[in-house]
């Protein structure tokens, strides 16, 4: 039986995605080093938000504890680089995603027993277990000082590219940009396949009506659990990629306001669309960097943006643009 196709067809998707990826690939030639670095941060957060949105947008579960998976990825890298002297970024990714997989499977198993606000509080409480451990076991985690991960100790593509010697910073930013861009493209493609697969459709059915989804034979809790683990792994990958760029991992990325930032990014872009979290993460990163640079009261700026967003533009950037586009087309 041929599956009924929904959403845009493959050529249409490629016709949009390929120029965007090409544009991203050309960007470092146009903008300066600093902007390139900001874009890497943006792309990293975009992977995290994509993962997060599998739960919020597609499964209808608001997690307030995704800092746990981001932080798990980040701290795993910091540990294996410091204690096992691992240099290869690929090994870091493998280890980071694997450890996030384990912790997300464990936390998810507990959390998916509930929905709505209880789910949110449970994810929050469990993420804070990790935070308090990172915060208190300072002889392992460095406490609030965190753990330094020098980019000079990292190699890409199995040792093919390293960052020692003079001019290494510049080299790092450009090489790492393409590295993260490639991983972002793979992640986005993978997520696209997931949400348009029968599995993704089942998640959306659960989101829209849990009871009916159960009646047609979807194993609701099992599906939620799988979605939770996938979501955690994407966010964990983002944490892994973020560490060498930031050069340091601290308990702040495990603390619950960081989970709030991930939610913020996703809502900023719009959680009802696939591209929303990507746009939101990149936009949020710029917003935060410029707010921090221009005022010591940057939190207030971000808070006001969030309040206005929720009150006036609940569909986020992408949702609003889509609505405007629809209006224009109709004349």
């Amino acid at each position: 039986m041929p599956a009924a196709r929904t959403g845009p067809s493959v050529p249409v998707v490629l016709a949009v995605a390929v120029p965007v990826i090409v544009a991203f690939a050309v960007l470092p030639r146009v903008v300066d080093l600093y902007q390139t670095e900001l874009l890497i941060y943006g792309l990293t957060f975009a992977i995290a938000a994509l993962g997060f949105n599998l739960l919020l947008g597609y499964t209808g579960l608001l997690s307030f504890g995704h800092s746990a998976y981001f932080g798990m990825g980040a701290y795993t890298v910091a540990f294996i680089v410091r204690d096992l002297h691992v240099q290869s970024m690929e090994l870091c990714i493998l280890a980071g995603v694997l450890s996030t997989f384990v912790i997300a499977a464990l936390f998810g198993y507990v959390c998916v027993r509930h929905t709505r606000i209880f789910f949110g509080i449970l994810t929050l409480a469990l993420s804070q277990v990790l935070w308090s451990l990172a915060f208190k076991f300072f002889w392992v985690t460095g406490g609030t000082d965190g753990i330094r991960v020098a980019r000079t100790g990292i190699t890409l593509l199995g040792g093919l590219i390293d960052f020692k010697g003079s001019g290494s910073y510049q080299k790092f930013v450009y090489a790492y940009y393409y590295y993260v861009l490639a991983l972002f493209a793979i992640s986005a493609a993978l997520m696209w396949v997931i949400v348009h697969s029968p599995f993704g459709k089942a998640l959306q059915a659960i989101r829209d009506n849990e009871i009916r989804a159960g009646f047609v034979g979807i194993r609701v809790r099992r599906y939620r659990w799988i979605a939770f683990v996938i979501s955690g792994c994407f966010t964990g990958l983002a944490g892994v990629l973020w560490v060498p760029l930031n050069g340091l991992t601290t308990p702040d990325i495990l603390y619950w306001p960081f989970s709030g930032e991930i939610v913020f990014m996703t809502v900023l872009g719009g959680f009802r669309t696939f591209t929303g979290p990507i746009v939101g993460a990149i936009a949020f990163n710029y917003l935060k960097v410029y707010a921090v640079a221009s005022s010591q009261y940057w939190q207030m700026v971000l808070g006001c943006v969030l309040v206005v967003l929720v009150m006036v533009l609940p569909t986020g950037i992408v949702g609003t643009l889509a609505r405007l586009g629809g209006k224009l087309r109709r004349g």
Binding site: I117, A125, L133, G303, L306, V310
Partner: protein, 298 residues
Amino acid sequence: MDTLVIQTLNSIFYAAVLFLIAAGLSLIYGVMRIVNLAHGTFYALGAYVSAWAVGTAFGLGASGSGNLVLAGQLLLLPLGAIAVAAVGAVIEPTLLRPLYRRPEEYVLLITFGMLMILEDAMKFLFGGTPLSAGSIMDSMGSIRIGSLLYPSYNLVVIGVGIMAAIGLWWFIYRTRFGIILRATSQDRRMASALGLNVGRVYVQAFAIGCFMAGLGGAVVVPAQAAVLGMGVDALILAFVVIVIGGLGSLEGALVGALIVGFVRTAGIQFFAEIELAVLYLIAAAVLLVRPTGLFGKA
């Protein structure tokens, strides 16, 4: 033995402060079904306003140590709670009310936005340095317990906590407004159909919840200085309290606060590294076994 008494008092002191915060959070959730992420920040705001009021009126150092000065300072403390209640009464109709028809995620997000705004508003108004009303604690001296000394002010806080618990219980179960509150909490539409002004009940409930948080801040500030970020830390502990006790339950908030207070004191003594982790794990375990908490009704 003396140490045990002091540690018990410390636990109850801590529980009293937590109860004030958590009871407000629980009340707001119980009546309005709102999880207020800015609640800890309201607590911090109460602490700042009280410390500022005491500091401005009586100078930063303990200028006089007479009983009259002390009485004046103590009378100024509740100002923080009143200020926070006023802020709450403004926020509910302007920011929260337009969102009740939307999914609950939006309300949660707007409280997160409020948290960010309020944190920086406090930084702007009170500066980045800690504000303390420690002169109250100093001039109240301490009492002797066996061979050890214990600050008298902590006993005042415990007293306030007990009085707040009794007062709130009386208010909710023995007054006409309490009946209205519980009716609205159980069935908002029905209450509205019976002619209750639900909008007004919501403002009042939110303001009372904020008042409790502000009171928590106001009573704690003579013992611990108000610092930036104290609200963010407090919120999570208040969550732990109401998750253990049951969301929306007053008795639950009391029992939860006592459990957290004692576990925390024991934790600091015996297992300092995992003290916080243990609390979160207890909360997660309760949520898993009894999602409605020890005292919650489904």
